[in-house]
Amino acid sequence: MVTTRMTSSVMRPSLSRAHAARATRALIAPFAFCAMLFAGFAPAAAQASTDQAAVSFVEDVSTRAIDIISDKGISKAQREEEFRALLLETADMNRIAAFALGQYLRTPTEEQKAEYLKLVETFIVKVYVTRLSDYNNEKLDVLGAKAKGDTQAMVQSEIKFTNGREPVKVDWWLIKNDGDFKIFDVNVVGIWLAQEQRSTFTTVIRNNGGKFESLLEHLRTQISKAEAGDISGITTSSN
C-alpha cells in the first residue's frame, strides 16, 4: 500500500482509506506521469516524484534490513558486517554522529573525532542488530511520504506482524545528500532513536566533567561487552 501524498501530517491508516488511496492513485497515475513530463512547470508533480523516491528508498532499505536480520544461515558477525555495509550506504553516519554529541559537538580533537566515528558506527550496528531482531521475517508497509523543507523528507510506515501483534509505527527522517536520500533518524512507536542516543551520550560526557574521552571509554566498554555476549551487570552508571 503506497500513497504518494498525505492529506495531513498524520496518517490514520484504515482499510477504507487504503482502498480509497489505491483507487485514487490508479486514477491519477497517468496524469501524474504526464505532469512529470512538464515537471519544470509543475512543482506539485516534482513534489510527488520526490515523495515517490523517498517511499521507494525506504521500501528498499527496510526490505534489505529485514532480510539481513532474518537470514538464519549467517553468523552473528556476518550479519553485523552486512548490516554495517547497509548502514554506511543508506544512513548519514557523519550527521548522526555529530547530532549525538549535542552541545559537545566541538569538543573532541581530530583523533578523538576519528575514533568516535568508528566506535559509534560499531555501536549502532550492534545495537540495531539486537533491537531489530524482533522484526525478523516481518514486513514493513510504507504509508506515505512528505517533504520537509527542500532537502528533507518524512516517510511514515508500519510493521505488520504475522502473529496478530498490533502494528508498530515507524517513521523515517530522510535527508538528501547529493541527490540521494540518506537516513538521519528513525522513529519507532514515538521514539526518535538519534534523540535518545544524543541524550545518553551528552549525559555521559557531562557527568564526567565534560571530558570527551569518557564517552569513548563508555562506548569501548559497551562494545566489548556486547561482543562477549554479556547481558547482566552492564549498567554503566557514570556517577
Binding site: G102, T130, K148, T151, F184, V189, S199, I231, I234, N239
Partner: protein
C-alpha cells in the same frame, strides 16, 4: 497504575518503574500520599537537554528499583510468563485494562477528546458484557483499540510543563506533572471509593498483578534496552520523555517541531546550536 497494552515500549518503561512495587506493597501497605509533597518545584532549565537537577538522588532510586527488580519483580514476572499460558495472561491484561476505563474516560473528556471518550465508553460497555467482565477485548477487533490517558497527559494538554525529572522508588519516572496526575487519577477510579474504608486487599492485588503482568510483557524489551545503553539511567529518562510526549500528542506526529539538522556536520565550523530540545 496506568496500562498501555499493545505498545511494547511504554509498557517496558512503566514496568521498570514498577520494579519495586510488589515488595513495598506486600511489606507494608503504607500510605504513599506523602510523596506528593516531596515533589520539587519545577526547576529552571539548566541550559542543557536534560532538566534533571536531582540526578544524583534519581540515580540512587533508579539503582534501588533495579535491585528490587533483579531480586524480586523480574523473577516473579519470568515465572508468571512461563507458567501462565498466553490466553490467561491476556485475560488478566484485558481485565485490568477494562477496570481502568473510568480513569481513561474522565481524562478523555477533560481533554475535550469526545470521539476518544466515546470509544472508551463503548469499549467498556462491550468488553464488560460481550467480553465477559472484561476478560476479553472484542472491542479492539471491532475498530475500537485501547488507548492510554491519564491526568498527567490532561495537564500537559492544558499547557503544564513536565517539570524537573524525578525518579522515585516504586513509582519510577514521576516528574511533578505526572506524579500529580497519578494521584488525581485515583479520584477518577470508582475502586478508590468502593474500598475507601474497607481493607485494601483488592486494590493491592490489582496493583501487584498489574506490575507483574507489565513486567512480564517487557522482559525482552527491557533486557535489550539495558544491554544496548551506554548509560541505562539516561536512556530510560529520555525514553520516558519521548514516550510521554507521544502519548500526550495521542500518537500524532509534529514533523515541524524537530531539531534543525540541515547544517549539522562534523566538518563545518558553524557555531553550536544547543537550542535542540525534545
Amino acid at each position: 497504575m496506568k496500562t498501555m497494552y499493545g505498545t511494547a515500549m511504554p509498557t517496558a518503561i512503566r514496568s521498570l518503574a514498577l520494579a519495586a512495587i510488589a515488595i513495598v506493597v506486600i511489606a507494608a501497605a503504607s500510605p504513599r500520599a506523602a510523596m506528593a509533597q516531596d515533589a520539587p518545584p519545577p526547576a529552571v532549565d539548566n541550559g542543557v537537554d536534560e532538566n534533571d537537577p536531582l540526578e544524583p538522588m534519581n540515580r540512587y532510586f533508579f539503582e534501588l528499583n533495579k535491585f528490587f527488580d533483579t531480586i524480586l519483580l523480574k523473577p516473579v514476572a519470568t515465572w508468571y510468563d512461563g507458567v501462565v499460558p498466553e490466553p490467561g495472561r491476556d485475560g488478566v491484561r484485558n481485565f485490568l485494562d477494562n477496570l481502568r476505563s473510568p480513569v481513561i474516560l474522565a481524562n478523555d473528556m477533560l481533554q475535550g477528546e469526545w470521539e476518544r471518550a466515546g470509544t472508551t465508553a463503548s469499549r467498556f460497555g462491550i468488553n464488560t458484557t460481550v467480553g465477559v467482565l472484561g476478560l476479553f477485548d472484542p472491542a479492539s477487533g471491532w475498530g475500537m483499540p485501547q488507548h492510554s490517558e491519564d491526568f498527567g497527559q490532561t495537564l500537559a494538554v492544558y499547557g503544564t510543563g513536565e517539570g524537573a525529572y524525578l525518579y522515585l522508588p516504586v513509582l519510577g519516572p514521576a516528574p511533578p506533572r505526572d506524579l500529580t496526575g497519578f494521584f488525581v487519577d485515583q479520584f477518577f477510579d470508582p475502586l478508590t471509593y468502593i474500598y475507601w474504608d474497607k481493607p485494601k486487599t483488592v486494590p493491592t492485588a490489582r496493583f501487584v498483578v498489574n506490575g507483574i503482568d507489565q513486567r512480564a510483557r517487557s522482559l525482552k524489551t527491557l533486557d535489550q534496552i539495558e544491554r544496548t545503553s551506554v548509560d541505562h539511567y539516561a536512556t530510560i529518562r529520555n525514553l520516558y520523555r519521548q514516550i510521554r510526549a507521544n502519548e500526550i500528542a495521542n500518537g500524532q506526529r509534529d514533523f515541524d517541531d524537530l531539531p534543525d539538522i540541515e547544517n549539522l556536520n562534523f566538518d563545518t565550523n558553524e557555531p553550536n546550536t544547543p537550542s535542540m530540545r525534545f
